[in-house]
């Protein structure tokens, strides 16, 4: 028994199963983060005062650059597969992981500074929403890194047995990764700049 359209696209929908699946998953993620952004708006509109420039803008800006770069390397990792360049794929995928780890390191310094100053999530509502949103975003980064490490490690074997499916998997990982990147592109101005 074989499940159809695991690799090839179904003609009438134009999609393979996995691609439709990842898009649906991202739709639900939009609702998850959408609810948190709505929460942010509601809390801020209802607040008598709202702190400005409480966060480290240079660190945040650096992280934005890092994450956007990682999105680029992610695309390259997929494009290399499409061009059948295995070595380049490994390089770009590893680079993506390195950049993600850099992002997390940066975040570690940021969080550390807040906690050192005694400004945990319970300090103010602003910090509460800051820690919740960036924390959840960070979990998404960690999830992405785990998936990428899998494709660098044991998951890479599929390239030999079913290259097309492996390429698809990298593409879907990329779609997820761009979404995580996009969330940060919203988070940065909303939390750091506005």
């Amino acid at each position: 028994m074989e499940i159809p359209y695991t690799v090839q696209a179904r003609p009438d929908s134009g999609l393979a199963n996995g691609k439709l699946g990842i898009w649906l998953f991202l739709a639900s993620e939009v609702m998850l983060f959408g609810a948190l952004f709505s929460t942010y708006i509601l809390l801020r509109v209802g607040a008598t005062e709202w702190p400005h420039h409480e966060l480290n803008v240079p660190l945040g800006a650096i992280n934005t650059v890092i994450l956007i770069s990682s999105s680029v390397t992610m695309v390259m990792a997929w494009a290399s597969l499409k061009m059948n360049q295995w070595g380049k794929h490994r390089l770009y995928l590893s680079l993506t992981v390195v950049l993600s780890l850099l992002f997390l390191l940066n975040k570690y310094f940021e969080y550390g500074a807040h906690f050192a100053a005694g400004e945990g999530p319970s300090h103010t509502t602003f910090l509460a929403i800051y820690f919740t949103m960036t924390g959840l975003h960070m979990l998404h980064i960690v999830g992405g890194v785990v998936v990428m490490l899998y494709f660098l490690g044991p998951g890479a074997r599929m390239w030999k047995t079913s290259p097309e499916q492996f390429t698809n998997r990298i593409e879907y990982t990329g779609l997820y990764w761009h979404f995580v990147d996009l969330v940060w592109i919203f988070l940065f101005p909303v939390l750091y700049l506005l």
Partner: protein
């Protein structure tokens, strides 16, 4: 035979050989416990869901004793709950609250939805669209086991100090945030919900992909059985409505564990004390405040109203299948039904604040949500009317599933119509938080949805097991349940219209205006326990028929949809030959045809 386990799997374990070997003869564990087969997973979901339904109902039978006989020790089982819950067998108010909160949670999230979507959806839908399995069998298995973890968390929370959550199934802030300080009940409820939401996310992605991608050749969207359409829309609701509750759950978890104040306003005073943070570094210090309790309600009802349709749509789908089959006629207005279901799904996202008329959110908001609420009643009425019209002029087969389907229609009708006064702010102000509300939504979910689910079990049991359930026991189950369940919920309208509030530990004895209404508590109690007794024939029938039920061939009901072309029970991979669809789903009594049903899977002039 090849195995789904190989599809898309290249993890390359060290014990690859053992794996390959297992494909030929699946071990018991892989075949019945960690199965990838949608039919096994569907049955796992269904049986677990039914067990939770019974469990949740048991909690209610206990509560009903307290309401019928306030302050009297619970007979027989009263001593099982310990001194912390029921000293001397007499239920404490806190224990009553716990039972109430967990009854709602268990019935909705662990009982009805897993049975209706996880059970029926998983088992029937792929068969009805001619698919060999779900699109992602591993995700499917994971979905069940994450649900199981969520259920285990909820059940486990009964046994932690302080007991399970007691802030209602809605967990309204700020009470839920400050309830049970330092105890785990509410926190575990939130963790359990996160599991359940994750499970339903995995399930809904799988359902949608399966319906879009794996339909058999010839099965266009407008040839889909109505049940599949209902599952399709339901999956979208689960996919898009649940994440905001996940967000809300995370926020409340932060409030309880990290000491934030998302739902605690500044200077909140409860019982003459300023509310303090409960945990974390600054335990005991005044909460930072600045939060908004209404935020919880918005996020909660943004899920929980679509959730109502998650509860009802699969039931409508099941009733549609049973009605078409037992009237031997096409469903009346198939296209109207489909469009109504889609419209209903869409509208269900913009009616949530009709649960919040009493929060003082303002007349403009109320006006908007009243309007959308009235609009959403239109497709519901279209669907119910189409089902009723399908009966017109039919020579109805009064089979056991059909009895349940027939009862569903007026019961769901009562539930729906009594909802209208609740959807309008002026009348809702009077009825809000009374037993009327309880009567209303239970008519939708209990004699409505749960009856449809029972009907579905009787209807598809032969497909799942190859044996029919006993008709006599089925009829006893049906008539007993039908009478009792109305005796349970109809008096609630009387009590509610008289102003009796819900969630009262003593049934509201201390209020003078309730004096004439208290007698109904006894009626409801007796009816509820009798209802419990009438589930015994069902349980006996369910397990007995596995062994002694009459053997059936592949199409015992002479039905037209694809699942009846597969063997009963279908083997791994479902169909013996690749199914091809030639026509719409309900070609019954086609003029000029030799028999009164023309299945989707039979070629022209077959």
């Amino acid at each position: 035979m090849d195995n789904v386990g190989t599809i898309g799997v290249d993890h390359g374990h060290a014990h690859d050989h053992a794996h390959d070997h297992a494909h030929e003869e699946l071990s018991f564990l892989r075949k019945y416990v960690f199965s990838l087969d949608h039919k096994v997973i569907g049955i796992q979901y269904a049986v677990t869901g039914l067990t939770f339904l019974l469990f949740g109902f048991t909690l209610m039978m206990l509560m009903r004793f307290q309401l019928a006989y306030p302050g009297r020790p619970i007979p027989v089982v009263g001593n099982w709950f310990g001194a912390a819950s029921a000293p001397g067998g007499i239920m404490l108010p806190e224990f009553y609250n716990t039972l109430g909160a967990m009854h709602g949670t268990i019935m909705v999230f662990l009982g009805v939805v897993p049975l209706a979507v996880g059970g029926f959806g998983n088992f029937v839908m792929p068969l009805q669209i001619g698919a060999p399995d779900m699109a992602f069998p591993k995700l499917n298995m994971m979905s069940y086991w994450v649900y199981f973890l969520g259920g285990a968390t909820m059940v486990g929370s009964f046994f932690v100090p302080g007991g399970a959550a007691m802030s209602g199934w809605t967990s309204y802030a700020p009470l839920s945030v400050i309830a049970q300080p330092g105890q785990l009940g509410q926190t575990l409820w939130l963790v359990g919900m996160v599991f359940l939401i994750t499970s339903s996310l995995l399930g809904s992605v799988n359902f949608i992909v399966t319906i879009v991608q794996l339909r058999a050749p010839g099965l266009t969207y407008m040839r889909l059985p109505f049940f599949v359409w209902a599952q399709f829309v339901t999956s979208f609701l689960l996919l898009l409505a649940f994440p905001p509750l996940e967000a809300a759950g995370i926020l409340q978890l932060m409030d309880r564990v990290a000491g934030t104040s998302f739902f605690l306003p500044t200077g909140l005073v409860v019982s003459n004390r300023v509310v303090t943070t409960m945990t974390g570094v600054a335990a005991g210090s005044v909460a930072s405040g600045g939060g908004n309790p209404l935020l919880w309600q918005h996020l909660f009802w943004f899920l929980a109203h679509p959730e109502v349709y998650v509860l009802i749509l699969p039931a409508l789908g099941i009733v549609g299948e049973i009605v078409a089959n037992n009237t031997r006629k096409p469903l009346w207005g198939y296209r109207a039904l489909v469009y109504s279901v889609v419209f209903l799904g869409f509208m269900s996202f913009i009616v949530w604040a009709h649960h919040m008329f009493m929060t003082g959110m303002g007349t403009t908001m109320s006006a908007f949500f009243q309007t959308t609420t009235m609009i959403i009643s239109i497709p519901s009425v279209v669907i119910l009317t189409a089902l009723l019209l399908s009966l017109w002029g039919a020579s109805i087969r009064f089979t056991t599933p059909m009895l349940f389907a027939l009862a569903f229609m007026p019961m769901f009708g009562i539930g729906g119509l009594t909802g209208l006064p609740l959807g309008l702010a002026p009348s809702d102000i009077h009825l809000h938080d009374t037993y009327y509300v309880i009567g209303h939504f239970h008519y939708v979910v209990a004699p409505g949805t749960i009856f449809a689910l029972f009907g579905g079990i009787y209807y598809w049991f032969p497909k799942a097991t190859g044996r029919k359930m006993n008709d006599l026991l089925g009829r006893i189950h049906f008539w007993g349940s039908f009478v009792c369940i109305n005796l349970v919920f109809m008096p609630m309208f009387i009590q509610g219209l008289g102003g009796m509030n819900r969630r009262m530990y003593d049934g509201g004895m201390q209020y003078a205006h309730n004096a004439g209404l208290l007698k109904w508590n006894l009626v409801i109690g007796v009816a509820a326990w009798a209802l419990g007794i009438f589930q015994v024939p069902f349980i006996v029938n369910f397990f007995g028929s596995l062994k002694w039920g009459a053997l059936v061939d592949k199409n015992p009901w002479e039905a037209t949809t694809l699942e009846w072309s597969a063997p009963s029970p279908p083997g791994h991979g479902n169909f013996l030959t690749e199914p091809v669809v030639y026509r719409g789903p309900y070609e019954y009594s086609v003029p000029g045809s030799a028999k009164d049903f023309t299945p989707q899977f039979e070629a022209e002039h077959a």
